[in-house]
């Protein structure tokens, strides 16, 4: 799984950090998403998938299966 984030679309709601804090973080000054791990381990794939679905700004995209 490859994860990408679009910081321009992020509205700083924090949904992704709540679900997968090992993969996503927020910038301190404006809450915009920071990607910590672009290729998370398999045990986190389900949560990362949920984070992408839960993102209100559709700022998280997932690609690949490796």
């Amino acid at each position: 799984m490859k994860v990408a984030v679009d910081q321009d679309r992020c509205c700083g709601a924090g949904a992704c950090v709540l679900l997968a804090p090992d993969v996503f973080d927020q910038r301190d000054d404006d809450g915009v998403v920071v990607l910590l791990d672009g290729q998370p381990p398999e045990e986190l794939h389900a949560l990362v998938g949920e984070a992408a679905a839960a993102c209100p700004g559709a700022a998280i995209s997932l690609g690949g299966t490796a």
Binding site: A13, G14, V17, L18, Q26, D30, G31, V32, P56, G57
Partner: protein, 406 residues
């Protein structure tokens, strides 16, 4: 028969919203609205001004539309289905589109990140513990709204914004006018002017004596020319009103719902599991869905739903209260079940306007629901359900008073 029903539906008068809740069912959405949702995914409804925007009933459709760039939050656009007459003078960023919305929202996002909210938890726990101490030392019965539900979020948002809590009577009274959907345009204009003037003076004070709070941060941006003083004050009004009215109503109405569901209350009282408390918060957000006006938007382009077309320029109401009772998403939706998976509720909205303060609200409610009923295990109503004044006239639902004893 089918044809007759369909043509009768076509000729039916659009349902006037807000529709009334059923007597004796204060936690459930209006029956007429739910009946509409059972019949159709998209229907015309009638607003106070006679306009007839579309109402979207299903969870999946609402979620898709709220994230759709062809939908606008710009309240100044013709066709926008406002819940009350619009004051054009001052518009908060919740009624703007990107990029202007994002520019302003990002200026005030920092205190609401998960990290900052988590760091605030011990201070909120102290506020809640102190207020419970006062309750226990004070007279019985007591109105839980005034003695607890309002002070918790007011104290928190005052600290966060840098607003003196001593002024709480002033801003609570004017906030209440602003979020009452039956007050007149004149009354709301005056309340808005008073709050705006108050915040504008505070921003001025922060320009001279900056502190470590949100208004000071805005004042710095005013000094730097990024923001006008008027914009800063307007953001302050939005934060202050949104910061205490919503959470206060979730505390009082949530307590009432739990008292009416003793088996669920017992779960909270008997568990040490923070996961259960967190899940209880989500379920009460879903079940109560206090922003019962629905999300309001206007279409920027033609959008097809269920074989019908919302035309560009037409208003759209997304009724989150019935979406959160959609049985396709939440099985047995009318049951309050603190252990269910409620993550997809729309109580905070969806799309780029999703509630900025949601992590703060979650944390405050987790502290409250995890503390109040354990420290006062015999808490009970000091009246009967039918005597409780509900905020049927509020743009945020709740109770005006909640007399309790123990």
């Amino acid at each position: 028969m089918t044809n007759t029903t369909e043509s009768a539906t076509d000729q039916e008068q659009p349902l006037a919203i807000p529709a009334a809740r059923a007597a004796g069912c204060p936690f459930d959405p209006p029956p007429a609205l739910r009946a509409l949702g059972e019949r159709t995914r998209l229907a015309r409804v009638r607003l106070f001004d006679g306009s007839t925007p579309w109402l979207v009933t299903r969870h999946a459709d609402q979620r898709a539309l709220l994230a759709d760039p062809r939908i606008s939050s710009d309240i100044t656009r013709p066709g926008f289905p406002s819940s009350v007459p619009v004051q054009q003078a001052r518009i908060g960023f919740i009624f703007m589109d990107d990029p202007e919305h994002a520019r302003l929202r990002r200026m005030v996002t920092a205190p609401f990140t998960l990290r900052r909210v988590a760091a605030l938890r011990p201070a909120v726990q102290k506020i809640v513990d102190d207020l419970v101490d006062e309750l226990l030392a004070g007279p019985r019965p007591v109105d839980l709204v005034q003695a607890f539900a309002l002070p918790v979020p007011s104290l928190v948002i005052c600290e966060l914004l840098g607003v003196p809590y001593a002024d709480h009577d002033f801003f609570q009274v004017h906030s209440a006018v602003l979020i009452n959907r039956e007050t007149t345009l004149e009354e709301r204009r005056e309340a808005s002017d008073r709050l705006f003037g108050y915040l504008e003076r505070l921003v001025g004070d922060k320009l001279d004596h900056p502190g470590d709070d949100l208004l000071s941060g805005l004042a710095v941006r005013v000094s730097d020319g990024e923001l006008t003083r008027e914009e800063a004050a307007q953001i302050g009004v939005l934060m202050l009103v949104a910061g205490h009215e919503t959470t206060a109503n979730m505390i009082a109405l949530g307590t009432l719902a739990l008292l009416e569901h003793p088996d669920q209350l017992a779960l909270l009282q008997q568990s040490d599991d923070p996961g259960l408390v967190a899940s209880a918060v989500e379920e009460l957000l879903r079940y109560l869905d206090i922003t019962h006006n629905g999300r309001r938007r206007v279409a920027l382009a033609d959008i097809e739903i269920a074989g019908q077309v919302i035309r560009a320029g037409e208003g759209v109401v997304l009724a989150n209260d019935i979406a959160d009772r959609d049985p396709d998403v939440f099985p047995d939706p009318d049951r309050l079940d603190l252990r269910r998976d409620t993550r997809r509720h729309l109580a905070f909205g969806f799309g780029v306007h999703q509630c900025l303060g949601q992590q703060l609200a979650r944390m405050e409610l987790q502290v409250v629901y995890g503390t109040l009923y354990r420290r006062i295990p015999t808490l009970r109503l000091a009246t009967t359900l039918d005597q409780i004044p509900f905020k049927h006239d509020g743009s945020v639902y709740g109770v005006y008073e909640l007399p309790v004893t123990w």
